[in-house]
């Protein structure tokens, strides 16, 4: 039982940055832009979070710094993609390299270190204890005592779902992503919505980065995102850019992440195998979707 509770607790914690980045990815996808740059936005934000929290001696400042930094990387990406019509994929890879090189460069220029940076006295996000929550059997110990961003994340999932499905802007966003031409012919400023969603994605990745460097851990490590942005992207494809399905995908992948340590020690399943699953499942899902489309196609050869 304790093992289960621990696992569920860890899943919730480890899943949080992936959900946040996946929400960022889905907002981008909803305006028709595959966002490869999630990884870079998260990484730069994770670094900024540590700097902000360290210098201001306050975690909240770190979170704000992370969000701003995520949005800055997003802005660079957006300007190249939307203004200079750069290739989406290539510009995304460039943004990731820029974030990796930029954080690495600053890490050394400012702190003469490669690898981990954990300034003494760094304030993490801490944990929140919701009165009464821990008393609930089974669920209590799983849900209580997380970093505040864990709870914020689930609120954001709900808000994203409401935004896309209930608001006028959400409706326009969906129209732009699915049929940009149809949206522009009725006077919807598609370009502006694309900028808006990419910046929002940057902000969400900022939170994801903050959770990684101030929530899950209290330090920054060179290249600490290590593929989580791509895992989030996989979740977006898994959930076909729908908020709840994408969140489910993130949780499943986060669960594998949490599970692998246990599987390795108890059953002996190598972590690499569980790491493969999210990515392999996307290929399977895409193949399945395309196969159905192929079967349903008109007879044109």
């Amino acid at each position: 039982m304790q093992a289960f509770t621990d696992l569920a607790f860890a899943t919730l914690r480890l899943t949080t940055p992936i959900i946040l980045a996946a929400l960022a990815g889905l907002l981008s996808q909803q305006v028709g832009l595959i966002n490869i740059a999630l990884e870079g936005m998260m990484l730069a934000a994770a670094f900024a979070a540590v700097l902000g929290a360290f210098y201001a001696q306050h975690a909240l400042v770190g979170v704000v710094a992370a969000v701003v930094t995520g949005m800055l990387v997003a802005l660079v990406f957006a300007v190249f993609v939307l203004r200079f019509r750069a290739n989406l994929i290539v510009a995304g890879l460039a943004a990731n390299i820029l974030a990796l090189g930029g954080t690495g460069y600053l890490l050394q220029v400012l702190y003469q270190t490669r690898g981990a940076f954990a300034p003494p006295g760094l304030r993490g996000l801490g944990t929140v204890h919701i009165p009464g929550l821990s008393q609930i059997p089974i669920l209590g110990p799983i849900l209580d005592g997380h970093s505040p961003l864990v709870y914020v994340t689930w609120v954001l999932v709900i808000l994203t779902s409401i935004f896309l499905n209930r608001t006028v802007t959400g409706l326009r966003v969906r129209a732009v992503g699915e049929q940009a031409e149809a949206a522009t012919t009725v006077g919807i400023p598609a370009r502006r919505l694309q900028y808006g969603m990419l910046l929002a994605a940057g902000g969400l990745c900022g939170l994801a980065g903050a959770q990684m460097s101030l929530g899950n851990l209290q330090l920054f490590v060179y290249n600490m995102t290590n593929g989580r942005g791509f895992m989030a992207l996989a979740a977006v494809f898994f959930g076909q850019a729908q908020p709840w399905a994408t969140t489910l995908g993130s949780v499943v992948f986060g669960f594998f992440d949490a599970l692998q340590i246990r599987l390795q020690t108890t059953v002996g399943v190598p972590p690499q195998i569980t790491q493969i699953l999210p990515f392999l499942s996307i290929v399977v899902v895409l193949t399945w979707v395309s196969w159905r489309r192929y079967r349903a196609r008109p007879v044109a050869a």
């Binding site: 595959i34 490869i36 660079v76 190249f80 200079f84 019509r85 750069a86 290739n87 989406l88 994929i89 290539v90 510009a91 890879l93 460039a94 943004a95 390299i97 820029l98 990796l100 090189g101 930029g102 954080t103 690495g104 460069y105 600053l106 890490l107 050394q108 220029v109 593929g227 791509f230 992207l233 996989a234 494809f237 190598p270 690499q272 195998i273 790491q275 493969i276 990515f279 392999l280 996307i282 290929v283 895409l286 193949t287 395309s290 196969w291 489309r293 192929y294 044109a300």
Partner: protein
């Protein structure tokens, strides 16, 4: 958006790449000045370390070797309008295949073992591309997404191999057993690690150029890349060409892995690539998807890489500066890239 690869207009195109490269150097200089570093000194050192002196030049070419491979692998795919991002995955599988041959068939002489290891590496890379290639060719599954995802599968899979079935007990880092001495590529200019892989890839450059310009497959992939509708109406077997191009790209990507294993590491090391496969994208773009252009771009990038390490040692500039330069190059090259390569979305093959 249609995917159109424009035939090289040699001088102009490479000239523009040069401008891009210079622009990146300017931005890098701004970064250094802003952080109180001596930009002029850094570039001078970088140039000296990259090109002056036989050993320095050898190290530059050593750094360029895998990049030439991955640049060529990417260029052949892009030239056909196939957006293959999976060279990194092919490189890992190729590297492991080469290592496996190297530490398993230890009794063979070098003359047999080395070609065999390269061949196995190429086949492993090609086999890997069979999945996204067939999906793209016959079911029109977007190759960008599948190759990005399958990269992780390949990297994790090889990591599993050297952590479990082929783990060497007692080593801190996961790596395969060492390959036989006969499988190790001879050094060209010791003490530099520069090795025979460079010669292999230098032979590959004219071969790829010849393939693109003088063979039916080359013709077909150029036709496809420049106008897929025209290709179909002319009788180019489009799905077959897409698949062949992906396999070829994977094959060359696999060779890149073999070069590193047989020439530098002498074993498969978990997570050994700092993104050679992704660098291939930069190189192909910078080299305008041509063989010779890829060679030049790879040597430039190799110079940055090999110089970067020295920068850190001698002028106190983090080698991550090189990544910043590289990112800037990619941003600029892709921004103008669209002018000659109007970006698609499945307007392509119907």
């Amino acid at each position: 958006m249609t995917r159109t690869v424009v035939r090289p207009q040699w001088v102009g195109e490479l000239g523009r790449s040069f401008v891009t490269f210079s622009a990146a150097l300017v931005i890098g200089a701004l970064v250094m000045v802003a952080t109180g570093r001596d930009a002029w000194g850094a570039y001078r050192t970088l140039f000296a370390v990259a090109f002056l002196g036989a050993q320095n030049l050898a190290d530059t070419l050593l750094a360029a070797t895998p990049l030439i491979f991955t640049g060529l692998a990417t260029a052949v795919a892009f030239r056909a309008g196939v957006f293959n991002i999976g060279v990194e995955g092919a490189l890992y599988l190729g590297a492991f295949a080469a290592a496996w041959i190297g530490f398993t068939l230890t009794g063979l002489p070098a003359g047999l073992l080395i070609p065999l290891a390269f061949l196995a590496a190429g086949l492993a890379g090609a086999l890997f591309m069979l999945i996204p290639g067939a999906l793209r060719a016959y079911l029109r599954v977007d190759e960008i997404v599948t190759t990005i995802m399958l990269n992780y599968v390949a990297i994790s899979f090889t990591s599993y191999l050297v952590n479990y079935p082929y783990a060497v007990p007692g080593l801190a880092n996961a790596m395969s057993p060492k390959i036989a001495l006969a499988a190790q590529l001879p050094r060209l200019l010791p003490p530099s690690q520069l090795n025979l892989a460079l010669i292999v890839v230098l032979l590959l450059v004219p071969l790829v150029h010849w393939l693109l310009s003088r063979t039916t497959l080359g013709y077909e992939l150029r036709a496809l890349g420049s106008n897929p509708i025209f290709a179909r109406w002319s009788g180019v077997p489009v799905p077959a060409v897409i698949l062949q191009v992906m396999l070829l790209s994977g094959f060359i990507g696999g060779l890149a892995g073999a070069g590193q294993v047989l020439g530098v590491n002498y074993r498969f090391v978990d997570n050994f690539s700092p993104g050679y496969g992704f660098d291939g994208i930069t190189i192909a773009l910078l080299g305008r998807n041509t063989a010779l252009g890829s060679l030049i771009a790879a040597v430039l990038l190799g110079a940055l890489r090999s110089g970067g390490a020295t920068l850190e040692l001698f002028v106190d500039i983090p080698k991550d500066l090189i990544l910043i330069l590289e990112a800037t190059i990619i941003f600029f090259v892709t921004a103008e890239f669209v002018l000659t390569f109007p970006r698609r979305r499945h307007a392509g093959v119907h």
